[in-house]
């Protein structure tokens, strides 16, 4: 009797694209975190609908300059992320390294501006009122993600300086780029509700 077999010896080992396990794991994690951000947004909208005075009349109109610069900078940082993503396909290390350094710089600068300039100028704290609580929760959640994205990029950058860059690392670069898009884009709606909404006509007034 003969036995049929399916020979897969010719298949490649590992890929650096959307077919790999890590890529899918990354997407699933983004789905989870996206849901968490959606819940935070839902919290904001829910409390907005149950409060007559929203944002509370004690909340000052925030200074728009630095937050806007910060947000635009964060959005623009998607470009180096995109370059990392593309260059990883061809394993072109120079643009990858430059853009990684750029991403780290943007990440650190964003966090610095957030905590040295924007947050102190808010004029309320998490314990001031529910509005303050939800805004601080959102900022805190996003900061954690920003720290994670910057830290991950920094680690990969340092690693790639000293150790050989293999296919699996190229995959890591690409997944980090996708994560970076997520962290940058998810900030946009929050920028609007935290910094723009107090400038619009207050609910109830």
């Amino acid at each position: 009797m003969t036995q049929r077999v399916l020979d897969v010896a010719a298949l490649t080992e590992g890929t650096a694209d959307s077919r790999s396990l890590i890529w899918w794991g990354n997407l699933a994690m983004l789905a989870i975190e996206g849901t968490m951000f959606a819940m935070a947004m839902a919290t904001y909208l829910y409390l907005r609908s149950t409060n007559l005075d929203w944002p509370p009349s004690t909340v000052p109109k925030p200074d728009l300059l630095m937050p806007t610069i910060n947000t635009v900078m964060l959005l623009l940082s998607c470009i180096p992320a995109f370059i990392i993503d593309r260059a990883s396909i061809t394993k072109n290390m120079l643009p990858i390294r430059i853009c990684q350094a750029l991403s780290i710089a943007v990440g650190l600068l964003f966090l610095y501006i957030q905590y040295a300039v924007m947050v102190p100028s808010l004029g309320y704290k998490w314990s001031s009122h529910a509005y303050g609580s939800v805004v601080w929760v959102i900022i805190g959640m996003h900061t954690l993600h920003m720290v994670a994205a910057t830290g991950e990029t920094a680690l990969l950058f340092l690693y790639s300086l000293f150790k050989p860059v293999l296919k699996k690392h190229l995959l890591d670069f690409r997944c980090t780029a996708v994560y970076w898009y997520f962290v940058a884009l998810v900030w946009v709606p929050f920028y609007f509700i935290i910094f723009i909404e107090p400038w619009m006509q207050r609910k109830g007034s």
């Binding site: 009797m1 003969t2 399916l6 020979d7 897969v8 010896a9 899918w24 849901t35």
Partner: protein, 655 residues
Amino acid sequence: MTELAVLPPDFAKEAAIMEKTWASKPGVIGWLSETGHKQIGLRYIVTAFLFFLAGGIEAALMRIQLLKPENHFLGPDAYNQIFTMHGSTMMFLFAVPIMEGFGVYLVPLMLGTHNVAFPKLNAFGYYIYLFGGLFLYTMFLLHAAPQAGWFSYVPLAGPQYSPGKGVDTWAQMITFTEVSGLVVAVELVVTTFKQRCPGMSLNRIPLFVWSMIVVSFMIIFAMPAVMIASGYLSLDRLVGTHLYNRSEGGDPLLYQHMFWFFGHPEVYIIFIPGLGFVSSILTAFTGRKIYGYTAMVSTLVVTAFLGFSVWVHHMFATGLPQLGESFFTAASLMIVLPTGVQIFCWIATIWSGRFRIATPVMYVIGFFLVFIVGGLTGVMLASIPIDWQVHDTYFVVAHFHYVLIGGALFPLFGAFHFWFPKWTGRMYSEVMGQISFWLLLIGFNVTFFPMHVLGLYGMPRRVYTYQPGMRWGNLNVLASAGAVFMALSVLTMIINFLVSRRAGRVAGANPWNADTLEWSLPSPPPVYNYLHVPTVSGLNAVWDAAPDQPYVTGMRFDRREILITRVLDAEPDHTEQLPGHSPWPFVLSCTMCIGLWGAIFFAWWFTIGAVLSGIALIGWFWPSDRELEDHILREKGELGGLELGMPEPVREEMP
């Protein structure tokens, strides 16, 4: 890829190499570094079962307290802690994790792969779950258990009305078990979509695996809601935010919305795997494929979607606008339909199959008898006016025990008996199995059926006592008597398993003549699962296999190499190497404990834990030199190919 025809060789040598490649490491550190899915799955199952016993003891204490009116067996303090622990244990530490354990154990076997997609993450999920549970129980023994109920409504669970650390413990335990649940969900989704063996296209995935996919997606979208809800609760309690404080603009109902947005899907998360068990067992015991496979899968998906649109029926008594509530009535009624269709399909399957009887099937019969009652009382609860009367009464207690014990516990016990031979290689005692089944069926109904009446006769839930003259006494005695039978049933089952594990009849590979791939393996399965990745040519992999059903060759035996296939048609795509044993999941879960447990007492612990976790993560991802070398050689094309397992004697091209 080519299909070749070869003579079946002797694989003893290859098996020895595989054994070495995938083997567990010895010693305590080896045990803590384990990443094999079968080991981790069994740990989940055993741990969750121990928590089930703890929850059962708590239930017994409550039944003793309620034996007679104004009983002084437990005071309100103890009773409130115990019922909170009972609910939290059964929902978070037993029901979800044990289903996840089954998923972790069975899904890779059913798919014909070697391990789950992210083995280290899998181990991490287990430890984080274990530590969450241990933390809760440690605090319970220190008299600092939560006592605001398993759904911890604010403001009762808020900083002012629940002083102390109990509710903080609860909220943190939620975080731990949710992280674990999310981790397993991600793994199972990726494993199922990427690691199915060749030939297992989407329409050939076993129904149990489908149920786990659906559950995993539900977890991914439901559990973040409760993490946010309990996270807000922690923040309110620990740093003074006002998210739930009405007088500063927060809202207690926000908590209820978010909790039930998770809480209702949670019910489906618990019993959809039960539906998967029922399908698996019925397929084996009717000897035919489940009638209406497509309908079964699509109804599971529909249930998942509808499950997210019914949460407000837990809040009908809060006085939300009537029109909005009517929508949720309609959705809650309509969710009966998909489950109904499943039940009709099973009946059709039994009707046309050759129906054999053994303990697993008895439990399926118990599932039909009990779960349908729960489903029908669920229909009653979906009606707003009826809900106004019976909400938060013993009627609801009866209802959800019928749903959860009927829909999850009966199939689960059936699954215990069904897969027992696969785990241990031996058969359980059929007589004792039947005894434990009848004890459970009778005990359960005696315990919980009177509760329907109690609820209609005005007994609210979560009362630590009641007054004489309320006419609730006799029914409560009856309920407590039934609990004795349930305890005996579980005891019989445990003894049965412990004895049979050593002394049972040797089972063989496929004692039930079942259809899924794991039954093609010896019992218990070898550490590497499949020497060669199998292929399938039908929905019922074992039954539909040709005598010369191809298997996959050309993969290495000396590496943890797995075959990745395409999402839709499961055609081979590429191979990947899985990481081996690693102590880092354990270390990371310890550092997370430092951060999250410590944060309850002092906020800076959170930061310390986060930094330590960052270090642990670097260790986690740092590749070993051997792995690096492997990769470098492979990319240069210089990694020596092992000729083992390549088709040996005669090669002839298939026509």
